[in-house]
Amino acid sequence: MKLILHMSDLTDLYQAVILDHNKRPRNRGKLPTATRVASGDNPTCGDNCTVYICMEGERIGKMGFEGSGCAISQASTSLMTTQLVGKTLEEAEGIFEEFKETVTTGKEPDEFSEVAAFAGVHAFPARIKCATLGWHAALEALKQPDQPVES
């Protein structure tokens, strides 16, 4: 499926991929086996997000998230969890850099992925921080040492 984006069009911002992740978030919920946890919030919006990561060696084994926020922040965090499992910290940072470029410039990733759905965000600068909320929490969690999480 080739996505044709008209950047100024609002329906592009909220295109099918985003609406789908918002309505049926993947990996939503606390991860009881998580060894790394971090939270982020946008005080001006009231959005918040907690990301749970279970490491398997150097790589992300499982991810989960909780929180509340707009469709953009919820969908982007949901999508993120599907993109980062199996990745190392360095790989995750690279994917985040690419995602950031997509949401700030509208440039689609070199390789096709659902991340392209977020290209429309760049036309709405106030919403970029919504799109990156969960990603910032995930990278903060990744940089922590492994530790048991209270149940």
Partner: protein, 413 residues
């Protein structure tokens, strides 16, 4: 209604534009109001003809600037029915006005064990300064609860009776809630506070541009508001203070303009209002605010209140029919100011605001500087539509049509 409200829009140049291909429907008036041509002209005229520093100047421009600035003060005293224009202090806005009372009166009068009473519906501007000053003085900060799952019950007046003890030295509360649209019984609250010897600080930010605010009728000790929420410029606001209290208060900022005699080792202060206006004041915006008062009184404040509050009632009724909506504040048909806040369980306020913006409808989504209340109500954010004299019933229709589209979009499978 005596005034024709159908075409006041033409007095406001900024409203003559399209957003999202449609005529702008500006419903963010509780955040800031638009300015009529007469205010914009007054500002331009001042800078083009009269700009000069005020007081002590003996040349023509300085005398004109001083006259304009002091005329604005006299006009403001009349606007709020202050007994004396020396009771009108120009500030940057509501926040600075409240900070002035907290710093000056609070530091001079509050002791450990004293109580400062607030309400659960205060804007951060009438909450955070009291947190800071009670922490510094050892006084205790207490809150009058708000009743109801959707805050529909207003302030808990029974709890207020119990909270108003002789330890309460100051009671700070809002006239109108910027989040709920609740109209508080200011006169009654001031009388109850006075009965226990507490002074009152009224936040009139949400009422001053809509209805008659009469400080002598309210019998409040202090009243704070911003010019930009009453069709005036940004950067100017007012603190009204009872003369006897102001005369006993120390300055909160010091420097030029507020002194009578300065020696190297010490200085003497001028009386109010100069004592509280250190430095070059905001002359231009005071003069712009004068023009705003003239505009509002030409339309008539009782008529403006009736118009704005009616639109909010119409909006509340129409929005109440949208499936899955939660509306905060007074129930349908009960007294309500010119705003409506609402939330959908399945569509976040920021998505609503972004969508409505594409239809040219300007709303506000968020916590409305009222984080503790939102937390109490279990809401991360709400969407707020707030009305002013240039809005019409057609703007309510545009709001409802846009919201219906948004719900269809997000709820479609």
């Amino acid at each position: 209604m005596t005034h024709d409200f159908s075409n006041l829009r033409v007095d406001f140049p900024v409203l003559d534009q399209h957003v999202g291909g449609r005529p702008l429907v500006y419903l963010d008036n509780a955040a800031t109001t638009q300015k009529p041509r007469s205010v914009i002209d007054a500002l331009a005229r001042y800078y083009e003809r009269d700009n000069s520093n005020v007081h002590r100047g003996l040349h023509a421009l300085s005398m004109r600037a001083t006259d304009g600035y002091e005329a604005a003060r006299v006009r403001m005293a009349k606007f709020i029915n202050a007994a004396d224009s020396a009771e009108v202090i120009f500030t940057r806005g509501t926040t600075e006005s409240v900070n002035l009372v907290a710093e000056s009166w609070g530091m001079a009068n509050l002791k450990p064990g004293d109580v400062v009473l607030c309400t659960e519906m205060e804007h951060h501007s009438n909450l955070v300064p009291w947190q800071v000053i009670t922490q510094r003085t050892g006084a205790i900060l207490k809150f009058v609860p708000v009743l109801g799952d959707d805050a529909e019950g207003g302030l808990d007046m029974d709890a207020l009776e119990l909270l108003l003890t002789p330890e309460v030295k100051l009671f700070a509360f809002t006239h109108i809630s910027n989040t709920l649209g609740t109209l508080n019984p200011v006169k009654e609250l001031c009388a109850k506070a006075r009965a226990v010897g507490a002074i009152t600080v009224v936040d009139a930010a949400q009422s001053i541009g809509h209805e008659i605010v009469d400080v002598q009728d309210m019998d409040c000790d202090f009243l704070a508001f911003s010019g930009h929420k009453m069709a005036g410029p940004t950067g100017i606001g007012v603190l009204y203070g009872r003369r006897a209290l102001l005369d006993a208060m120390p300055p909160w900022q010091s420097g030029g303009g507020m002194i009578s005699i300065v020696e190297y080792t010490g200085s003497k202060w001028k009386p109010s209002p100069e004592r509280f206006e250190a430095g070059t004041p905001n002359v231009a915006d005071a003069i712009g605010l004068h023009a705003a008062m003239d505009y509002l009184d030409a339309v008539g404040r009782p008529a403006i209140a009736a118009h704005d509050y009616d639109l909010a009632q119409i909006a509340r009724e129409a929005l109440g029919k949208l499936p899955g909506i939660r509306i905060l504040g007074p129930r349908a048909g009960e007294p309500r100011s010119g705003l409506v806040s609402f939330a959908f369980a399945d569509v976040h306020a920021h998505d609503v605001v972004t969508f409505a913006d594409q239809d040219g409808v300007a709303l506000r989504g968020g916590h409305h500087c009222n984080q503790p209340l939102m937390k109490k109500l279990g809401l991360p954010s709400t969407t707020r539509a707030s009305f002013y004299l240039y809005n019409t019933a057609a703007d309510v229709d545009a709001l409802v049509i846009s919201l219906s589209k948004i719900l269809r979009f997000f709820r479609a499978d």
